[in-house]
Symmetry: C2
Subunit: 357 residues, 2 copies
């Protein structure tokens, strides 16, 4: 691999600069992405076509010196493959045609065979790996068992997750049944992605931060931990590291770091210096610039990037990222400034640290 800085940072080994990639780096802020999406006809047609998915996965790498590619897909492919009917209404987030609202539907739920109904994802992984030709590692991903359950029960995103939480508080055994199926499904799905060629896996727990601290352990972290424990450890003679990201999970950092993952993704509410002090070198940390900082002029963006890099310092084990996905209205020049500054400033930080020692 020409650039394995991400893998080395995930292993807490020294790198010449802080590796950087961005959640939703392939997306609507890029004019070339919008052009491909228009040709595909819709977001789902794009995500379900290995050729289009490969095209958009590589687009940001052509523009910016990123240290990783991430599979272009949706976090909700698994429940879609379970038959819930994923769709996107105009200008809205994801929705399911058949959300899980009654006991019979929950009892009937089964983990899908990834080589069957999720074959399009695995085909995309193989095609992207070929197109990358070893430039940078490819990250595969899934929603966490809990975050999948949020959408499966609610039927869509929500401000208060009333349907989901009513089930959690009133019929917890039903939610546990969904989560058990999801944990098996996510494990099989991520292992199939690894077999197809992804070199890192990431679990997105977008909504775990909505839970009560005890319920976060019981309904979210316990199931992510189960997935991580059952992941294929090595592929092609190299360890396949895992990243667990819980939006709003800063208060539970120690517990997340003890989940078995190699890296913890953190949002911008977390001070990286304090986070490092809390978890030590047990895991790498990924994050954590507020995506809204990209609405500032490029020079300010660079200053905000430096603040994040300074907080972590020059020790190994930091992967620069945002604390959430890039907003569709983000100026492309802000992203260019970000990536450039991470490379330049982090290399300088390391040089300074070496001079001192």
């Amino acid at each position: 691999m020409s650039n394995d800085s991400l893998l080395r940072a995930l292993a807490r080994e020294p790198t010449s600069h802080t590796p950087v990639w961005l959640m939703r780096q392939a997306g609507r802020y890029l004019p070339e992405y919008n052009a491909t999406r228009a040709r595909a006809g819709s977001f789902l047609a794009l995500a379900k076509s290995p050729a289009f998915a490969t095209e958009v996965t590589l687009q940001p790498l052509e523009r910016f010196a990123l240290d990783a590619a991430i599979l272009f897909s949706d976090i909700l492919t698994v429940p879609d493959a379970m038959g819930l009917g994923l769709y996107f209404a105009q200008g809205e987030g994801p929705r399911f045609e058949r959300p899980l609202r009654d006991e019979a539907a929950i009892r009937a739920l089964a983990a899908p065979d990834p080589s069957d109904r999720l074959r399009y994802v695995l085909d995309a992984v193989r095609e992207i790996r070929k197109a990358l030709a070893g430039r940078v590692p490819l990250i595969g991903f899934s929603g966490s068992p809990f975050t999948l359950a949020c959408y499966m029960v609610e039927g869509s995103g929500s401000d208060d997750w009333r349907a989901l939480k009513t089930m959690l508080y009133a019929r917890p055994e039903l939610l546990h049944r969904i989560l058990e199926v999801n944990a098996r499904a996510v494990t099989d799905y991520l292992n199939a992605q690894i077999e197809a060629g992804v070199q890192v896996v990431m679990i997105f727990d977008t909504w775990g931060g909505q839970l009560n601290h005890a319920d976060y352990e019981e309904f979210s972290l316990a199931y992510s931990r189960r997935v991580i424990a059952a992941l294929t450890r090595e592929s092609g003679g190299r360890r396949v590291p895992s990243i667990l990201f819980t939006k709003g999970g800063g208060v539970w950092l120690e517990a997340i770091a003890a989940s078995g993952c190699d890296a913890v993704g953190v949002d911008w509410t977390v001070d990286l210096a304090a986070a490092r002090a809390r978890v030590g070198a047990r895991v790498a940390l990924q994050g954590n610039l507020d995506p809204a900082a990209l609405f500032a002029p490029p020079e300010r963006v660079r200053a905000h990037v430096r603040r994040v890099l300074d907080a972590f310092g020059s020790a190994p084990g930091h992967i620069f990222n945002l604390g959430h996905g890039i907003a569709p209205t983000t100026p492309v020049e802000s992203v260019a400034a970000l990536v450039d500054e991470v490379r330049a400033y982090s290399a300088k930080l390391r040089a300074k640290a070496q001079t001192k020692t």
Copy 2:
């Protein structure tokens, strides 16, 4: 005062039971509230009429054994008095007719004289105190300088606060100018409420938790601290305690506890046992049941209440509350079960602790 358990808990003095009140305890889940609101014609007409505000403030006390009344009002009365034009569109949250988008409007911003354009609030306070006749203390409140600024700049609630954050990241000096005016305005407003008769004040920092950790200190906590430092300390020979609530502020608990407030409000992501260990007896803690737990059947609600009480334990300094306002669709019988269980179970906890010692 017949029941001063709230004031004693705020002073970390022993009480026979854990005092309980609920954010939005006067609100749409109560049929009698909806009847009054229908008579008033609109939410704003209700909030701006001292007679109606008094009526709805007292309604939950007739039904439940609550240990405090909270002034019925809106968190955005201050910017409304600054001339921004608060209104509520059908089925939506608050909006401003004239949000702060240009420098001229920001330079022209001034703190309103509470005895002039906010007199209706002070009249309501006086009328409520009379109607309460010393049963329980009356809590006054305001949005925090930062949370007011969120709505003032954005013009409404938001998922990503893009306008606000663009100003914060690109033109921080403009946001600081707004926050300075807001801090003065909130101080004057809360001191006027104290003079009119409120016995506790609470600052709602609903959106501080959206900020980067360093920006939370700079743009939110610094201004709340300034307000707290300038509050009238005593009224009628009794200390007027303050409560600072930052939704999503769990990671910053130590800093919030050091702000000068008497109590910190915490949401349900925080483990009260861990929170107590972090801040000690320096402040009281208020919270922290997830309002969605009230969608469970009454027996489950009672179990969830006990879990919160057990987490804090029987030491002085806990005020039971939700981690956010009651949802309008909450069943009244759930609220009844909650209040009853807090009283009964917390009294039992104390008795058990005394037997042990």
